[in-house]
């Protein structure tokens, strides 16, 4: 089979990359298979579970639904880009403090789904949190603790 390859330049977690990308690959494939950023998970590969959520130019997206060749000049942030070494992001701290994950497979997706809300630097209601995360499934159904975790992190920001 002929492999069409496109050279694409983009930024992930603040770092520039230029890659020859197989046109069939999704952004999720690139993250997991080429860049070894396995925090984003392949739960369905159909945009139905949110386990692969990353931000693309500030917006939360299902990375399995973005063809990798389309990310030219974009800026992507993944779960691996939130903490500065041992200094965890307030969302990460809050997910630990509020037991916001059980098996943990959905956790990076939920945190990245909540990240734009955190970045919006405004007070949000629980209803807005639910809406922002409506496309993320947690099969352990840790939803209550996840809401508490996001509320906790945004609270941290409001105070700070």
């Amino acid at each position: 089979m002929e492999n069409n390859v496109t050279q694409v330049a983009f930024k992930i977690n603040g770092k520039e990359h230029t890659l020859d990308i197989d046109n069939r690959f999704t952004l999720l494939d690139i993250l997991r298979d080429k860049l070894n950023l396995t925090g984003a998970k392949k739960g369905c590969d159909l945009g139905e579970c949110g386990a692969c959520t990353v931000t693309l130019d500030g917006k939360a997206v299902n990375s399995c639904q973005i063809l990798a060749v389309k990310i030219a000049s974009s800026e992507i942030k993944t779960i691996e880009g939130l903490n500065q070494g041992n200094i965890l992001h307030p969302l990460q701290i809050s997910f630990i403090e509020n037991d916001g994950g059980q098996c943990g497979y959905c956790t990076p997706g939920f945190i990245m789904g909540a990240y734009p809300l955190f970045e919006s630097r405004r007070n949000v209601s629980v209803e807005e949190i639910r809406l922002a995360l409506a496309g993320n499934l947690c099969r352990c159904n840790a939803y209550g603790a996840i809401i508490d975790s996001v509320v906790g992190a945004i609270g941290i920001k409001a105070d700070g």
Binding site: T38, A40, G43, D45, Q102, L137, Y143
Partner: protein, 753 residues
């Protein structure tokens, strides 16, 4: 001796889930996150037919592809078996989605392209997608032994159920069905196999690495000593990640190609080739006297195991335990039958048959209360099984451990705070205002319902633990169990640390690799905290003694009198002190290995609970909203309250899927599963997550470690009947068929009009 005052105990505190930091950082490694140099990727060709013999397979065009390295078919995999009724690959396929052939290629795209080139010639057979068709005489046998497993039901009885019904003033009888919904863990099954010529290393999501090792050894005919099974972090299983063909196929491909092979199932494949809950049909009947005394209970359950048996026998037995044991009654009987169909396989799913059995029993119980004009809570307070157990004679010999699913009477429970759960839960939901909340007019009807449950309390198989004080002054607890996402590694660590008298941070847990852990049963049946916990406690107790003896030598004492362990080391009454690091250096490795057979010879160890829900039903749309949910549980001592609450809330919300949404829909004409995706097999989301109040009864079990009993599965048993009873209270309509989707609710409501 352990100085209990040296530091606050960890048990009973919400010590942080040990693996959560890696999970929020995105660095926790799940099987699919792993890769090896030169790794091949495998994809599976699945059957388009629900029932067919495979006559021949032409793999040559596919094998000719440059990127393709090997293809497994039923004709080249040998005679090994994954389970008694599951060959590695078979010349007969039994459901749409059954494995036929497996390709190993340089990447998944090439593997998928190769799959398309494989030509299979079938002899298509008549098939059955439901139990009625399967049980009809003359219909084609799905397995040679016939479509009814073992030819008929299991029968369990206490007393004489006919006599019991003769004594009854009223007999209430009804039928119930439950759906074959899918646990759909977010992590699909995956396996990474590496064969180096003599040794096989297997990474796979596992709830029992030692059990998986035995299956691989037997299926592949490889010496178990040459197999290592490693369980990476597991992305949810809820009991369902029992062994399927996945890991065996990856292993065989690696052995044949000499290269590492990774096989990841897609979401659709996980739905089809994973394991779902058995759908059931239950007929149940209860006899009562006018004063409300229960005289007889008789339940018959038939369950659909799909194409293969999996854990069916355990599931069908557990479906009957509520009918046999939840109500104090001398005469009870349960018959449970398993039937093969040409549909995706059912297996273990959180609480096994208990949710199905309790849905029928606890719905019927409300109907009985109605018949007697007794408040449903009062009826249960009158009749629930008490601490003394069931009437009757013990038949288990005195020196034998009591089964956690007994039938016989005459044995007390080690602890039973069901009554406390009923009272505390009723208080929290506001049961006393139940008569006032109904709304006779308007489209929104409000109601409150409740139900109760009984479940195995935690004693499982023989459990081992090794514990040591290492050279660096830290302790290591070696156990062969798996944390399947529920947090067992955290609570077992807490128990071991407290027993020893050190901080949990001082204890490392080593698990998840068959090479350096002792044999352990699977993480199944809510047994882990209890059984592995008992082993950990005993190991820690023995190690404490060994450490103190070593310390007395190092300090230069003649005996261990007055020595005690502190978080830093060992102290004597007169002020001598040796810290753990120095002790380890001077004494060498201090270690112990223990093996425990969990359980009791005198008591039944069971967990209990009562659930309550207040709901609103929109009779125009059929939509049901849960306003408030209360779960009161007797699980003995709660080792880690925050994690325990997460477990209960999660289990309830998960079972809102069983109650309101989920069912695998299989087309009767084609055998095709119509909704093998998250979009169509809809599960609860954060949008409808209700307020859930969790109450733990004041209970300390005298048998369990630190007084603990099971909790893993118990939250899943009562949600469906609780909602069914609330729906009846709100609308006067009883729904006997799950799930309560808006259209099912509307249809039921229209029948009433």
């Amino acid at each position: 001796m352990v100085d209990q005052n040296a530091h606050p105990p960890s048990v009973g505190t919400s010590f942080q889930r040990v693996d959560l930091r890696d999970k929020v950082l995105g660095i926790a490694k799940y099987t699919a996150d792993l890769s090896l140099p030169d790794m091949l990727h495998a994809r599976v060709l699945r059957s388009p037919h629900p029932h067919a013999n495979i006559l021949s397979i032409d793999v040559q065009p596919a094998l000719n592809m440059v990127g393709v390295h090997d293809i497994l078919t039923p004709f080249n995999v040998g005679e090994g078996k994954v389970a008694p009724d599951v060959p590695i690959l078979d010349t007969k396929v039994r459901f749409v989605g059954d494995e036929i052939a497996v390709v190993a290629a340089v990447n998944v795209y090439e593997a998928d392209a190769a799959i398309d080139l494989i030509k299979v010639s079938y002899e298509v057979l008549p098939f059955s997608t439901n139990m009625d068709t399967s049980m009809k005489k003359g219909n084609p046998k799905i397995h040679t032994q016939g479509n009814v497993v073992n030819g008929g039901p299991i029968v369990e009885a206490r007393g004489n159920v006919e006599e019991g019904f003769d004594q009854a003033d009223y007999i209430v009888e009804d039928s119930f069905t439950t759906p074959g919904h899918h646990p759909a863990s977010l992590e699909p099954r995956a396996a990474l196999a590496s064969w180096d010529g003599t040794r096989l290393t297997m990474w796979k999501p596992s709830r029992g690495i030692h059990a998986d090792k035995a299956i691989l050894a037997s299926a592949l005919d490889v010496n178990p000593n040459n197999i290592t099974v490693i369980g990476p972090v597991m992305g949810g299983g809820y009991g369902s990640k029992d062994e399927t063909r996945t890991s065996v196929l990856a292993a065989l491909l690696s052995m044949r190609t000499g290269r590492p092979v990774k096989l990841e199932l897609s979401r659709e494949e996980e739905f089809l080739a994973g394991r779902r809950r058995h759908s059931t049909f239950t007929k149940i009947k209860m006899g009562v006297k006018k004063d409300g005394t229960v005289t007889a209970v008789h339940a018959k359950t038939v369950m659909d195991t799909g194409a293969y048996l999996s854990s069916g026998p355990g599931v069908v037995r557990r479906a009957g335990q509520g009918a046999l044991y939840l109500y104090r009654c001398p005469n009870v009987k349960y018959e449970g039958q398993i039937v093969y169909t040409n549909t995706p396989t059912a297996g273990s799913y959180r609480a096994l048959g208990a949710p199905q059995g309790h849905f029928a029993l606890e719905s019927l119980s409300d109907q009985v209360a109605d018949k007697l004009s007794i408040d449903p809570l009062k009826f249960r307070l009158m009749n629930h099984v008490g601490p003394e157990g069931q009437p009757g004679e013990r038949t288990t010999p005195k020196n034998q451990i009591i089964d956690t699913q007994p039938v016989e009477g005459g044995i007390p429970f080690s602890s039973n705070e069901l009554r406390q759960c009923l009272i505390l839960g009723a208080d929290a939901i506001g049961w006393e205002r139940r008569d006032q909340i109904q709304t006779p007019t308007g489209f929104i009807k409000r109601g409150i319902g409740m139900s109760m449950f009984i479940y195995r309390g935690g004693p499982g198989g023989q459990s081992k633990a090794k514990m040591s004080l290492d050279e660096d002054g830290f302790f290591t607890l070696n156990v062969g169990f798996m944390d399947v996402g529920e947090g067992s590694s955290t609570v077992v660590l807490q128990m071991a640390a407290d027993t020893l008298g050190v901080l949990p941070q001082m204890v490392r847990l080593n698990s998840g690799n068959t090479d350096n852990t002792p044999q352990s049963p699977m993480t199944a049946g809510s047994t882990l905290t209890f059984s592995a916990g008992q082993a950990a406690v005993r190991a820690a107790n023995q190690l404490a003694q060994i450490v103190i003896e070593a310390a007395s030598e190092v300090i230069g004492l003649t005996d261990t009198e007055g020595l005690y362990i502190t978080p830093e080391g060992v102290c004597s009454a007169r002020g001598d002190e040796v810290n753990f690091t120095d002790l380890a250096k001077k004494s060498g490795l201090l270690k112990t290995t223990v093996s425990v057979t969990p359980g009791s010879r005198d008591y039944i160890v069971n967990s209990f609970g009562a659930h309550f829900a207040e709901i609103e039903v929109d009779i125009e749309t059929g939509y049901v909203k849960v306003i408030k949910y209360v779960a009161a549980h007797d699980s003995g001592t709660i080792i880690n309250p925050r994690m325990a609450e997460s477990q209960v809330r999660g289990g309830i919300s998960q079972m809102m899927g069983f109650t309101f949404l989920e069912d695998m829909e299989i087309d009767d004409l084609s055998g095709v599963t119509l909704n093998a995706s998250f979009l169509e097999h809809k599960s609860p989301t954060i949008m409808e997550y209700p307020e859930i109040e969790v109450i733990f009864a004041d209970s300390i079990d005298p048998v369990g470690p630190f007084g603990a009993k099971s909790l893993g599965e118990t939250p899943c048993i009562a949600p469906a009947p609780t909602i069914a009873n609330a729906l009846y209270h709100a609308t006067g309509v009883r729904l006997n068929h799950l799930p309560f989707t808006p259209d099912n609710v509307l249809t039921a409501l229209r029948k009433l009009r």
